[in-house]
Subunit: 259 residues, 2 copies
């Protein structure tokens, strides 16, 4: 008998060419599928992720599913897989899931965090997950534009033209900026996100913060959906997939900033 | 004219064979000396560190000095060197120093932090600077032994036999354990430390916390100095050289736990 298993996965994206398996490139999916093959004595099992994070993007709570013969108890998987995986990828948990559970199609929401730092020189271990930017001068404008993203909108302006993309209307349930002395973390909690959407939202917000884009211009990006609108894509290293939701929590969950 | 320059350096020790330059190994000193040579058009300048951290040990505030012709302004050095250094090594600051300043011999104190974590699986970015251990069951005994280290003692038991070692009497000004839900950070602020001393103190303290060594036995390590006493050396990844002091601060500085 086969059993579906739900994995929760954390990774430091720095050394990888993103989630999705590619020939002759180190990817997170590739490393995990190879580890599963080693642990199962060569079963070629697919590991399906909730989302395909891009090269250099990190995850604290990526979710994936796979099917294994029920001779492999899920509770033994984290230790067995972690022993074979590079230290930059960790299986945080493995639990049995209903046969109809699908990491991607069952997902109801995701939370991403985008981290920015300024100040003279970043500490090396912070730099791994933080984009360097000048300090945002106009915090009010940045926060106003951030809150304008909340709700149900056509987000095409924050993606790039892609015929295979599907519907571009998405809901952002909540968004929040948490300011430190030399850091800013922006959390986006939404129904789902288009490719590059979070990094392009972050890029546009940081332009507003820097005074390089007016708040009115930012609002037009939402009001007039324009695929491939001229926007900077904020660097991958600042982005972390924090969590995938299969049941939507009270919005209060957003107020717990993570680090 | 030549000018002495004081560098403050942070590094993630994971990929390096320690501070000290070695043939055919990547070391922090080697990488910095190579970057200085590149920046100065080939001057073979020595970079002298306050302490030789071992392979895998990190630093938030290592200090080093070097001498450069005064045509190289110190304030330009961080940017120039950081552009050539790997991202895991950052020059945090460069300032002019008196000609008699010596990073090692002028140092009056150092603060090291040893970080431990337990719980199911560590997040990959925390794992880089945290040793995995079972949760210490006897926190009181661990804290009692930690405080017994404070003061002036012959620390030979916490080092290994080494004829070139010099005096083994050292002063620990203050020590402190900071407990998180699944983490422990132990800070040691002292006049100076013998080779492996911090990792062997941490190893012995964690044995006491685990109930594998009695507090009385720990106290005997202090009372009866025994070079090479049978002690575990806690893993390098948990150790960070937090700061080097050239003037001793009020002990209150210890109460600011860093992370």
């Amino acid at each position: 008998m086969v059993r579906r298993i739900k994995l929760t996965i954390a990774y430091l994206g720095t050394p990888y060419h993103g989630w999705q398996r590619q020939p002759a490139q180190r990817t997170i999916q590739g490393e995990i599928e190879d580890a599963v093959a080693a642990v199962t004595g060569g079963l070629g099992v697919a590991v399906t992720g909730a989302g395909r994070t891009d090269a250099g993007v990190h995850a604290r709570g990526q979710v994936a599913h796979l099917d294994l013969p029920d001779s492999f108890p899920p509770e033994a998987l984290p230790r067995a897989l972690n022993a074979r995986l590079p230290e930059t990828i960790r299986i945080m948990a493995a639990v049995p899931a209903p046969p109809r559970f699908h990491a991607r199609f069952s997902a109801r929401g995701k939370r991403y965090a985008y981290r920015v730092g300024w100040g003279p020189v970043p500490l090396p271990w912070r730099a791994l997950r933080t984009a360097r930017m000048p300090e945002p001068a106009d915090r009010d404008a940045l926060e106003r534009c951030l809150q304008a993203l909340v709700g149900r909108h056509d987000m095409a302006s924050f993606s790039v033209p892609d015929p295979a993309q599907g519907p571009t209307v998405k809901t952002i349930f909540a968004a929040r900026a948490s300011w430190g002395r030399t850091t800013l973390q922006v959390d986006f909690f939404g129904s789902g996100f288009l490719r590059y959407q979070v990094r392009r939202m972050a890029g546009a917000l940081l332009e507003v913060g820097a005074g390089e884009r007016s708040a009115a211009d930012f609002m037009r990006l939402i009001e007039i959906p324009t695929p491939g609108a001229p926007l900077p894509t904020a660097p991958a290293r600042g982005l972390t997939l924090e969590r995938v939701f299969y049941r939507l929590p009270p919005l209060a969950a957003m107020s717990r900033a993570s680090s």
